[in-house]
Amino acid sequence: MQNLFLLFLLSVCAFALEARQLLLGPSENSSEEIQEALIEMQPGDVLTLEPGEYFFEDGISLDVDDVIFEGSGINETILNFENQISGAQGLLVTSDGVTLRDFAVLDATGDAIKVIGADGINMVRLRTEWTGGPKETNGAYGFYPVESRDVLIDACVAIGASDAGIYVGQSRNIIVKNSIAQYNVAGIEIENSYYADVFDNLASHNTGGILVFDLPDLPQQGGHNVRVFRNKAINNDTDNFAPEGNIVGEVPRGTGIIIQANSDVEVFDNDIYGNGTVNLSIVTYGYATDDENYNPHPKSIQIHGNRFGDGGFDPDINTGELAAILFELSDGNMPDIFWDGILPMNQMIFGQPDKERLVISNNGDATFLTLNPIKYILPFFDPVERDIKAYEGKVRPLPEVILN
């Protein structure tokens, strides 16, 4: 027994000896020192930046597995990229098992923190911000993990991104929690991704709060299994400042949550109010595509147990087409929940399988509007249907996301 304990101690010591603690503070050469340290780190190492402001002319990057890169606090350690001359992002991570925590990335010329192809990435207590307020010239994404798996974004703050504050694309196994997204075009966006839990976040003063999207012509599509719960998607009231051409450029100011072309999305126990166009909409991808593997329709969407407050009081009919159409169809009486009602042709005729049907239950006195597409095509019929009770159904909870 004693021997075993000794062996345990020895192995702990061996590990502790191997892992190094590196400490850097602000200096004239800190941009070079930090980049050099990020390159020369070994798995297990921890690089800590002391409090202070660090200025960069070039983007920095990390390509070493299983290391921790940390600062001394979200307001204490500032990585400032306002003078950036080269690099498409502030910080780029391309390795596996990295933890980033306790620092801020400010005014990156492109994206703030981009993570490509990581098998395990933890972003904890970080801030990405463009400090000049919402502007078209701000970088696109604050947090931008893509083609990654086991993604954790916890207690982060994203402000001022001209696309999405927190954007997870073409990834799987994702948790976004306890975070704040404000003054971005999209607060939090989960795109072409599988198995995401988005909870306990605040998405406010964006153009749109939380977006769950799927797009065609990409290596990973068919986004599914996304749970959005216990969030506040409130007071999203910033004019859309995305450069034209981007899909989020079509999001009207004052949108709480949008689900587009995903399957198996469960939205529950959220507070959704103060969104001037519409609190929640469920829509089909609206462009022609010849991608045969792509399903443009949302399916198996469940909306239950949410608390809706005032919405639709100031529709942004000038951005995209959604708000204008909805405004006209609703006679200005905008619903809390909107579904465009568009189904694949065979389902319009023969009906939708039960498990793919939209479920809306227990959302208090939330109002609803959908379109009957057949009536929409025919003359003299009013396609607008507002009976929310028709969508009540048994909730089939989606499984919890567990990170490896």
Binding site: L92, A140, N246
Partner: protein, 345 residues
């Protein structure tokens, strides 16, 4: 007897002096100085050692108007094997050597040049590794730069204009940004198809692949290579020139195995699907890179095409490629403008 051993000693010493340091190529740690490898008999004049063979690509990647000289080294008794549409499979111990420089005056090359850096791709047991050595001001040695380096350089261009560049020697991670294929470091240039041209060797002009066969660097290749064209040569069709340019400048990243895989925009020579080539393709995570345009390539409308917008831009948050360029490649912009404007709408 004495004479013989002296002769042997001298021969041995000379061979020793000019023999490539194979161990240095293989070892984990990179030496501090480029000269330690002995790739050059005369490094200042860039005269290569034996078995270090110069080569050129049919079209090459734009790097801020710098000039490039390339060499390949393959250890004695080993061979690179051919892979269609891919870089040769070079044997362990091989090295690809590339020196970047600017002439003092492009109108008169005899005025000399300023060496910027020499990049190495070394084929180790575990795979390729990239490293760069930046030349000193005296131009007699290049030193390793793990974290990269910024060099301000000026030169006189063909028109007699004074030009300047904030030249970036890439750090180790930036090397990988372009040289990553399925997450491993990979050379970009030396595919058989890119080498399929005549080169003026010291001992005469001959096709580079033939030369490599004669040197026993490769075996005979007996299939159609899908050879690109020199994008800068007007005798070729506009389409071939543009596809060749996009292939060597964008296709290493914009390919299903490359770093820009997630964009769905694929620009390598073998891509045939129009949407993936960018024709009427909507941007995905382009952000302000879109410049307010709706499609990567809007046929007939170069000014509304994101691809061209990002080639023209020098804003690091917008421009393409993301690294390795700080100036606009005007001649290529002109070419691609014409290509898009001539497309059927």
């Amino acid at each position: 007897m004495k004479k013989v051993s002296l002769f042997l000693l001298i021969t041995f010493t000379i061979n020793f002096l000019y023999a490539i340091e194979n161990d240095l190529i293989l070892q984990e740690k990179f030496p501090k100085k480029l000269s330690e490898f002995s790739f050059f008999k005369d490094s200042q004049a860039q005269i290569p050692s034996d078995r270090v063979v110069p080569y050129e690509l049919i079209s090459s990647l734009f790097s801020d108007y710098s000039y490039k000289q390339r060499w390949v080294y393959i250890p004695e008794g080993k061979k690179a094997s051919f892979r269609k549409d891919q870089v040769f499979n070079f044997p362990v111990g091989s090295a690809l050597i590339k020196t970047f420089y600017y002439p003092i005056d492009e109108r008169n090359l005899s005025l000399g040049k300023r060496l910027m850096e020499t990049r190495l791709l070394l084929r180790k047991q575990t795979g390729w590794e990239a490293v760069s050595y930046a030349w000193n001001d005296e131009q007699n040695e290049a030193f390793i730069k793990i974290a990269g380096k910024t060099i301000l350089n000026e030169w006189i261009d063909f028109e007699g204009e004074k030009r300047s560049v904030r030249y970036r020697v890439p750090n180790k991670n930036q090397c990988k940004e372009c040289h990553a294929s399925n997450d491993a470091v990979m050379p970009i240039g030396p595919k058989a198809r890119n080498l399929n041209k005549v080169f003026d060797y010291q001992d005469g002009s001959i096709n580079q692949l033939t030369k490599w066969m004669r040197l026993d660097y490769i075996n005979r290749i007996e299939i159609d290579l899908n050879t690109p064209v020199d994008w800068n040569n007007e005798i070729y069709s506009l389409d071939d020139r543009v596809r060749s340019y996009l292939d060597i400048n964008c296709g290493h990243c914009h390919i299903s195995t490359g770093g820009a895989n997630s964009t769905g925009l694929y620009l390598d020579l073998t891509e045939t699907r129009l949407t993936h080539l960018g024709i009427n393709k909507k941007p995905v995570a382009t952000g302000r890179g879109s410049g307010g345009h709706k499609f990567s390539i809007a046929p007939g409308k170069s000014k509304e095409s994101i691809l061209l917008h990002r080639m023209i831009s020098t804003d690091p948050g917008v421009m393409m490629p993301e690294s390795g360029r700080s100036l606009t490649h005007h001649e290529a912009v002109e070419l691609i403008e014409k290509w898009i404007d001539n497309m059927d709408t």
